[in-house]
Homo-oligomer: 607 residues x 2
């Protein structure tokens, strides 16, 4: 695509979105400058270090105790109202924000009292660039690449959110600075909606719910980013696995089991090694072999495919595996089940003839849509598609074969159009071996993340000589489709915990039924009921706590148990159970068999 | 136990077995001397290096081209008749075999021409022992610790088996010697039975069947001892997993999922590290953490148990996991699925009150017996029990607490007696943290190996402070029972492949039904039948090869498919299938529904 083509801004809905996002980004960046200006007014001794706009707002890092300034300043969230008032004044004054390009010497002079800015200038010098600064009125100036809004009056509704420590350049070896987080929106209404969403997201935080509902735990002595699933968490995980295995089997996948590690050579052959080595675990020398924990499954599946000759009659060969994979994530980026160092992917690789690729990709998207619908996720609302394209000019990052890229990208684009998928295109987001379709999931905090991908690969078949014999007896190269159905189990679990706010549908609930005796004398009856349910594979527990009935029901509700069966004199006599359904409340007394029919139906329908 | 107590030989049936085995061992060792003597007579230039008796017979390593001897001698299996004839002469001569203790100088002199023997003498010198030699008549002498039979006439029926290369001291750095394998039994009948068994075992070798039936493969670029399960192998594995998970759930186990690695600290805390570090993979430094792939699951389960307080009401807590584990096995010891470097164990740890331990162990043995019976294994025939005891005197190998050892060993002994299990006792076979019951499985080659274990552990609860609150609110220590139900999946699969000779029962068969059309025009009908079966979860394939019907049936039989359904004109017209059952042959025509009922019943009953 030529550099001279029209700016994408005004063309398509997605470009309008991009435009809006760009404007918001400018506003937030300017708001961060206003924050800095206000801070310097209130505490002239602090030294500003850095401050960017982010996807959610902005932050500002400063040094509260620069060398020679005496005791560190104590600034806390209690100071936010003062700071916000000071910021409001600057916004009200509608000061112009103006860019200026300096010489390096001018920059050095302007920030002569700020060691942090001098370091930025060193970096600018090394890149042989010229420093740019932004002036807010005549009072405040910061070294900044921009862009910004034209004047402070253009800044919408803002709010400071929190304060925390942060190392200079994110490294423990440097000084600990102070960071203030804030956000900014075009209107007060949007700001309030965002804050409400964040409060809701906090309540649904899977780390918090995971602890309250006893789903997973960590231990220092085990290691960072290595969660252990409790019995309850394991029930959810195993139900998800079962669902995936059954659905894949129905759709013609063959399951395989391959080792969690291999010789480094395997990743050199596949070409992954240079791209992945920084996020791989260190290699282990065993006798003459250099083994490494795998960061992906594809090369193993290719070796299995190659283990015997393949005929066109067998194609497509669809190898699926619930595969453990290991990636080194920085400790600062680890978070609950969302970012871990060992994860398990519902992975698969489809080896097919070129002319089968389109249908196979459609089938994969159909499987993903189906799985999402089972979870209650709606296309266009909870998720959308991203067509991730390569960059023909970046030969270092992308395998060089323009023709193959064109073919592959067109197939993916066509599929998305044919299935009428809501999608947008993103350049430079492809895998090194081909373009992909990313399923972008909206989290409860409003952020979007790639949940699953479908990749079209024309590189690996060459590297591994993945071939088949066609009808005429000729050897032909396959196309490989890399895909996940429900993604990485850890991250999907984290997502679902938050999506359901811990109130899992019955089929996924670790405990589906509590049987609660009204008093101690009904405990035996409750145990009998529990056994009848357990024998049918329904996950039931007889509760025998020394609490009031009301307390027991409340605990059950807090634990988000789908069904509470209360049994007392009346139920014992009538051989019934009094049913309380989560969210719906009291359903009255039922014959046990009727309740069993009801819950079994819901479980089978994955409700 | 005092050193002066009567020799165990004459006491119990199992001791009689030990006695017999000892006699056989002596005979085999003497037979190896006879082999050496015969070889030296035929080829005086060779140098004898070493030769022990083994569980199956004996072998003899020699140097066919000692330095300065000129060209290497060519000795092959074609020479076996000559060697055996020479050996027979020595046996017939009934030469006396006599032990003599030498001084080191006498030894040096006696073997002055043999560098290998001089090396043995160096080792003897270092241990400050005196060399012993055994004379066979007056012609032959070897450096040997014995014991031997009294004269060559006591040697029973023998046979040389094979010839191979072997490094001196098993190290690639040393010279390659030649090894001759042979065996020897008390009677010709026993020898013949052994040879027949070995031939049968060879046919059933899981490595051979694994290849023929396409169950698993290896690849050099993946790594040694790291099998990849094909779709067919994976079906068997997943069926086994499902069986274990369901059976354990029924029996009150809770499943958990813990990471395949942890910080080295975890294994230092458990005390495993010094015992296991040589068979563990190298540690990996990640930031400030030293991570290592786990060689066992227990410490992870203990950390999960400790993740919250536990009450007596919850006990026993039974954590089960299908757990990946990593152990460094020497490359020379790797073999198919039997010895691998990454395996998956049907593992569990039961945390219970001391007074619950006995019942829990009984329950575990019951589960193991049940699983074995499902596989068709018979107690006392296919497997027996070994009570593996500690050694009070070996404080380095066994945790020092005589009282605790006594209690634990008595509990295990009592359980075995109460369930009337066929068992024998073995000192020094315990885990370092407590005694165990080993389930000793007889393989098709006649060798016995430990398939599963149940361990009583009183050490880990102390090291990890594994406690619960009792009825009175007091904190008490639990007892841990380590157990496996069906052992390591890889090894169990290898065992079952050999046990069934590849003809898996229907529930385990990767493909349960082949639908074979008589001719091309019946292919559509066969596909319809196949779909009806697949929709019900029956693993069926429609065969469409260009072969004669007879050839197709033979292929199906070679692939050990449990049911072949033949469909031709007659079946198409009558809406039936002609059923051929593996081993039973033609069952005649059946309505499809009747066949479905039959096979579903067999699958459900795990037949």
């Amino acid at each position: 695509m030529s550099k001279k083509s029209a700016p994408k801004g005004a063309k398509k809905p997605d470009s309008r979105r991009e435009y809006r996002e760009k404007e918001l980004y400018k506003m937030r960046h300017s708001c961060e400058h206003v924050l800095t200006q206000a801070m310097l007014k209130l505490w002239p001794k602090i030294k500003m270090a850095m401050g960017p706009a982010t996807e959610d707002g902005f932050y500002f890092d400063f040094d509260p105790s620069p060398a020679g300034s005496g005791q560190a300043l104590k600034i806390s969230e209690a100071d936010f109202p003062r700071i916000e008032a000071e910021m409001a004044k600057i916004v009200k004054d509608n000061l112009p924000i103006r860019k200026k390009i300096l010489t390096l010497a001018e920059g050095r002079k302007l920030f002569k009292d700020n060691a942090y800015k001098q370091e930025w200038l060193d970096a600018i010098k090394q890149k042989k660039q010229k420093p740019t600064v932004y002036w807010t009125g005549k009072e405040f100036v910061d070294l900044c690449a921009g862009p910004h809004v034209k004047s402070t009056g253009e800044i919408g509704a803002f709010k400071l959110l929190s304060i925390a420590g942060a190392y200079w350049h994110g490294s423990e070896k440097n000084k600990m600075l102070t960071r203030i987080y804030g956000t900014c929106f075009a209107t007060q209404k949007k700001l309030e909606a965002y804050i409400l969403q964040q409060q809701e997201a906090e309540k649904r935080d899977h780390r918090k719910l995971g602890k309250n509902l006893d789903l997973f735990v960590f231990a220092d002595i085990v290691g960072k980013g290595l969660p252990m699933l409790t019995p309850k968490g394991t029930v959810i995980r195993k139900e998800l696995e079962k669902f995936v295995l059954e659905e894949e089997t129905k759709r013609g996948y063959q399951h395989v089991i391959t080792p969690h590690l291999a010789k480094v050579e395997l990743y050199e052959k596949s070409g992954h090694y240079p791209y992945y080595k920084d996020i791989m675990y260190p290699a282990m020398q065993i006798d003459e072999e250099k083994l490494i924990l795998r960061p992906m499954t594809c090369p193993h599946h290719f070796m299995l495919y190659k283990s015997r000759p393949r005929s066109y009659k067998e194609l497509p060969v669809r190898f699926a595996e619930i595969a453990s994979q290991f990636r080194y994530e920085k400790s600062g980026e680890l978070s609950g089940l969302t970012r871990v160092r060992l994860f398990c992917l519902a992975d698969a690789h489809i080896m097919c003839a070129k002319e089968q690729a389109k249908d196979e990709i459609k089938n994969v998207l159909n499987l993903i849509d189906y799985a999402n619908s089972v979870f209650g996720l709606k296309k266009g609302i909870n998720y959308r598609y991203r067509l991730s394209l390569g960059d023909r000019k970046d030969a270092k990052k992308y395998y060089k074969d323009d023709e193959a890229w064109n073919v592959a990208e067109n197939i993916l684009r066509q599929v998305l159009k044919e299935i009428k998928a809501p999608f947008y295109e993103a350049k430079g987001e492809a895998a090194f071996y081909g373009p992909k379709i990313d399923i972008q999931m909206k989290k409860v905090n409003g952020q979007e993340e790639t949940a699953f991908t479908v990749q079209y690969d024309f590189v690996m078949p060459k590297r591994f000589e993945l071939a088949y014999t066609d009808k005429e007896g000729k050897e032909k190269e396959v196309v490989v489709i890399h895909r996940s159905s429900i993604g990485c189990f850890e991250r999907t679990m984290a997502f679902l915990i938050e999506f359901y706010a811990g109130a899992f549908p019955v089929w996924l609930s670790p405990v589906q039924v509590w049987v609660i005796p009204v008093s101690q004398k009904h405990f035996n009856y409750s145990k009998k009921i529990t056994k009848s349910l357990s024998d049918l594979g329904i996950r039931a527990e007889a509760r025998n706590e020394d609490d009031t009935l009301g307390k027991k029901i409340r605990t059950g509700e807090l634990q988000k148990i789908p069904y509470l069966l209360i049994v007392g004199d009346r139920e014992l006599k009538a051989k019934t159970v009094a049913v309380r359904q989560r969210k719906k409340g009291d359903l009255g007394a039922m014959k046990l068999d009727d309740f069993i029919s009801k819950i079994k139906k819901e479980i089978n329908q994955k409700k």
